[in-house]
């Protein structure tokens, strides 16, 4: 039994080395910076969301003004956003992407995705957007309860989203019932700014 154990021990160690080696080998074969599947799916969700939301007329200067999707903070999407929005049109409008670390730069956007990196500043961010008609989206615990409009969360391994309709109404945003019925509806927490 000892000899068998010895063989299996070596087999085990060999496999460990094999896994480690194949990890490096396997990864370099993949494209550098391939975004994870999670963000590919979230980008597809963003594309869907804009199709179910109506902005007040004043949000767009002309009939063909594009819909601007802003990413605030550390960008988890990378080029996947552009790839997802490429050749797409919503209500006759194209989609463009803008990125910045400062909320001031994104005030002309129609949608702002708030990155996890901004988790400590959510309150200030949402307050500064109070008078705008921007759809705020994030993936932070409690974002919708704090006044954000859409928030991603996981149910086991599947992506879900919650929507705060009372945060959207005063902004003149109309969210289709098709989207609302697939969402978890959330109200603004008492005491949240």
């Amino acid at each position: 039994m000892n000899r068998t154990t010895g063989i299996f021990q070596r087999l085990g160690i060999g496999l460990l080395v094999f896994f480690a080696a194949s990890t490096w080998g396997g990864r370099s074969a993949n494209a550098q910076g391939t975004p994870t599947k999670e963000y590919q799916v979230k980008a597809a969700f963003l594309l869907n969301f804009v199709q179910y939301i109506e902005w007040p007329a004043a949000s767009f200067a002309k009939a063909d003004t594009p819909i601007t999707v802003g990413v605030l903070g550390a960008d988890p999407f990378g080029p996947i956003l552009e790839k997802t929005f490429q050749d797409e049109a919503v209500q006759g409008r194209k989609l463009v992407v803008k990125r910045s670390r400062q909320i001031e730069d994104l005030k002309s956007c129609h949608v702002i995705f708030v990155s996890k990196s901004e988790s400590e500043h959510v309150g200030n961010i949402l307050t500064s957007l109070n008078d705008s008609s921007i759809v705020t989206i994030s993936e932070l615990d409690g974002f919708a309860g704090s006044g954000g409009i859409i928030n991603f969360y996981f149910d086991d391994k599947k992506l879900r989203f919650e929507i705060n309709p009372t945060a959207a109404q005063p902004k003149g945003l109309k969210i289709s019932s098709q989207l609302l019925k697939r969402a978890k509806i959330v109200a603004t927490d008492k005491g949240a700014k």
Binding site: M1, F8, G12, F19, T23, K37, V41, A44, K158
Partner: protein, 674 residues
């Protein structure tokens, strides 16, 4: 110094001793050392949804990745199709524990399911730093960072905040700690002293088993199967919505386990069966308010060697918890539970125990830099022992434990440096007042790297095993020591976590622990007594990592190194120190490779190596488990699991003729939900 205490607890270990009749002093010594582990002072764990230095979130991560797709494929999908896509990532698991200034690991529901683990001890094997040894069909020796034994007493174990170690010997009877494994949301394991938050006896770690909220287990579920070692098992559960914000579930389960074998190959006569039923109710009348009511009852029996009778096990518990968030960002939690256990080992001993516990916690952020949590608790535990071969003097004991703790997380440099200071204050009936302070510092080097250091003091309070256990046998006797004191640990720990790329995360923890007043077994003439005349040092390293080379392939690996040294104090006539050093393996590793295959198949292969236990004469072993699962629809899952496949049997713990060997086993199961 010590108040008079009465405690009577049955010593499960006596059951094993009865199987092999006393032959010489060495046997009695081992018996006493084993028996000595039983009993423990009231250890107050803080019941709650697990909050070590940080708060791991409720997020799951479990990849169930299908073949990798191009972004184009996703953008063509409708909302409903997107909501059906399954996503996994290393990041999600790591993000929750990345901010912890402690050696913490999280076992998720997917880890449990895919590893083929059918019990909590089996699930614990994958955690670095845990020493999990199966003694026989229903008994386990589980510890972290040294001093493992069938009555290991330095680990605190909680089920949804309910402490499950027995005060008899400060250890856990693993044969009655069960739940629907499908309902386990996660198991959080903290290695190292968590005394400041969890109280005494969390000397080497805390294990918290957290079950899912009732609203996450709606609908019907039926599961069942059978095999060679896990002979047969079945369970059924139903969850429903009681009214607007109130959800409930009930379950019933039963399992029969086959016997193991002795070293000689003779049948181990330790087969066991258990039936358990329970419920959980969760209500959330508003986003700020949540209440839970849950309970279980169980009844089972284990075969007793060389006897036509069985050991009877029975018990039940009920727990209620309310949490409320306030408008100023603070929150309060109140929890109460009642727990009853009955253990009847014919001809050896009987113990019935009732425990009542109430716990209150208040958490409040103060300004931008301080985050304070404090708590108060009281536990009352009373038991009655029927003295037979093993006697406890007195045979009826009621214990009171009062506890308070306070902890402050201070942002020294916001988002860069965080200092956590805390301490637990307890008063128990054995050693009086105990104080367990701790300081932890977390340095967030970058968003992908964190490092931490900690210094803590923890105690393992005296138990009935030391103070009341009395054995009189020809040629040797053991008298309880009413002056037995707490064991004290000073722990120095450090750790480092890095996630250099999204698909690789590594977590390293190292420690050096200094122990004083460890329990010694002194021999004077023919009389044994338990005193505090040993001291010890342990040090070790634990490494855990997760690698995801491709969308469909994930590897989890853990490595543990441990060195235990024990010395006698001057004037000691101890005879047990050598065996204490050899109860833990020096090296262990665990690797599980998970593959998501086409056509909804999944394959998991696990290799684990455990080093030898020198003084026990248990050789090192390597075990291989494999699970093949198939989930053709969302509702149905089938699986075949093989355990210990390379070896027809091997021992993991135990000495001499009483040593049991764990056999190779295969089982198949189905799960159907609707």
């Amino acid at each position: 110094m010590k108040l008079h205490r009465k405690r009577n607890r049955s010593v499960t270990t006596t059951r094993r001793s009865v199987a092999s009749p006393p032959r010489n002093r060495r046997w009695l010594l081992q018996f006493c050392v084993c028996g000595a582990f039983m009993a423990s002072a009231a250890i107050e764990g803080r019941s709650q949804d697990v909050e070590p230095a940080t708060r791991p979130s409720a997020d799951q991560q479990q990849p169930e990745v299908a073949a990798a797709k191009q972004p184009d494929e996703f953008k063509k999908m409708s909302l409903d199709e997107l909501m059906n896509v399954e996503v996994t990532s290393v990041s999600r698991r790591e993000s929750t524990i990345g901010q912890s200034a402690a050696a913490i690991s999280v076992i998720t529901q997917d880890d449990i399911r895919r590893s083929g683990a059918t019990s909590i001890p089996e699930a614990l094997r994958m955690v670095p730093g845990m020493n999990v040894a199966q003694i026989d069909a229903s008994n386990w020796a589980i510890s972290a960072r040294g001093f493992n034994n069938n009555t290991a007493n330095k680990l605190l174990v909680l089920m949804d905040g309910r402490s499950v170690y027995t005060p008899l010997f400060s250890g856990v009877f693993w044969d009655v700690q069960d739940t629907m494994m499908q309902d386990v949301d996660r198991i959080e394991v903290i290695r190292g002293p968590a005394g400041a938050v969890w109280g005494a006896n969390a000397v080497n770690g805390v294990i918290n088993v957290i079950t899912k909220d009732a609203k996450d287990t709606q609908g019907a579920l039926v599961t069942g199967g059978g095999g060679s070692e896990l002979r047969d098992f079945g369970a059924a559960q139903y969850g429903w919505q009681v009214k607007d914000d109130v959800f409930a579930r009930i379950y019933v389960k039963h399992a029969d386990h086959d016997e193991t074998v002795f070293r000689s190959g003779a049948p181990g006569q330790d087969d066991w069966s258990m039936t358990q039923s329970g419920f959980r109710l969760d209500g959330q009348p508003s986003p700020d308010n949540h209440y839970t009511l849950q309970g279980d009852i169980y009844s089972g029996e284990t075969d007793l060697a060389n006897s036509s009778e069985n050991t009877d096990l029975a018990g039940g518990n009920i727990l209620g918890r309310v949490t409320q968030k306030m408008s100023d960002g603070s929150d309060v939690k109140l929890q109460m539970y009642y727990d009853r256990t009955q253990r009847d080992i014919p001809a050896t001993f009987v113990e019935h125990r009732d425990t009542f516990d109430i716990d209150f916690q208040y958490h409040v952020p103060i300004g931008k830099q301080h985050d304070v949590t404090m708590g108060l608790g009281y536990r009352y535990s009373t038991d009655a022992v029927g003295n037979r071969v093993i006697t406890f003097v007195p045979d009826r004991e009621s214990l009171n434990l009062f506890s308070a703790f306070i902890q402050d997380e201070i942002q020294l440099v916001p988002e860069k440096l965080r200092l956590t200071l805390g301490s637990k204050f307890e008063h128990n009936d054995f050693s009086g007042f105990e104080i367990e302070p701790s300081a932890r510092l977390l340095w967030t080097i970058t968003k992908r790297q964190t490092a931490w250091v900690a210094v803590s003091r923890a105690v393992r309070t005296p138990t009935q095993l030391e103070t009341d256990l009395t054995i009189v046998a020809p040629g040797a006797s053991l008298i309880g020591n009413k002056d037995f004191d707490s064991e004290v640990e000073l722990a120095y720990e450090a750790g480092y976590r890095i996630q250099p790329v999204d698909w690789l995360a590594v977590d390293i923890a190292a420690f050096y622990n200094n122990y004083d007043d460890l329990r010694s077994l002194e021999l004077n003439g023919t009389i044994f007594s338990e005193e505090n005349k040993l001291n010890g040092q342990t040090y070790g390293v634990e490494i855990g990592s997760t690698v995801q080379p491709t969308e469909w392939w994930t590897i989890r690996a853990a490595y543990t190194f441990l060195n235990v040294q024990v010395q006698t104090d001057p004037g000691s006539t101890d005879v047990s120190s050598e065996s204490l050093e050899g109860n833990d393996p020096r090296n262990q590793y665990y690797v599980r490779s998970s593959f998501d295959l086409p056509y909804h198949f999944e394959l998991d292969c696990t290799w684990r190596y455990v080093g030898e236990l020198e003084t026990q004469g248990v050789p090192s072993y390597m075990a291989f488990d494999a699970r093949l699962g198939w989930h053709p629809t969302d509702q149905l899952e089938l699986a075949v699991v093989g355990q210990n496949l390379f070896d027809n049997r091997h021992p993991e713990f135990g000495t001499g003729a009483a040593q049991h060997e764990i056999e190779r086993g295969v089982y198949a199961m189905f799960t159907y939900k609707w």
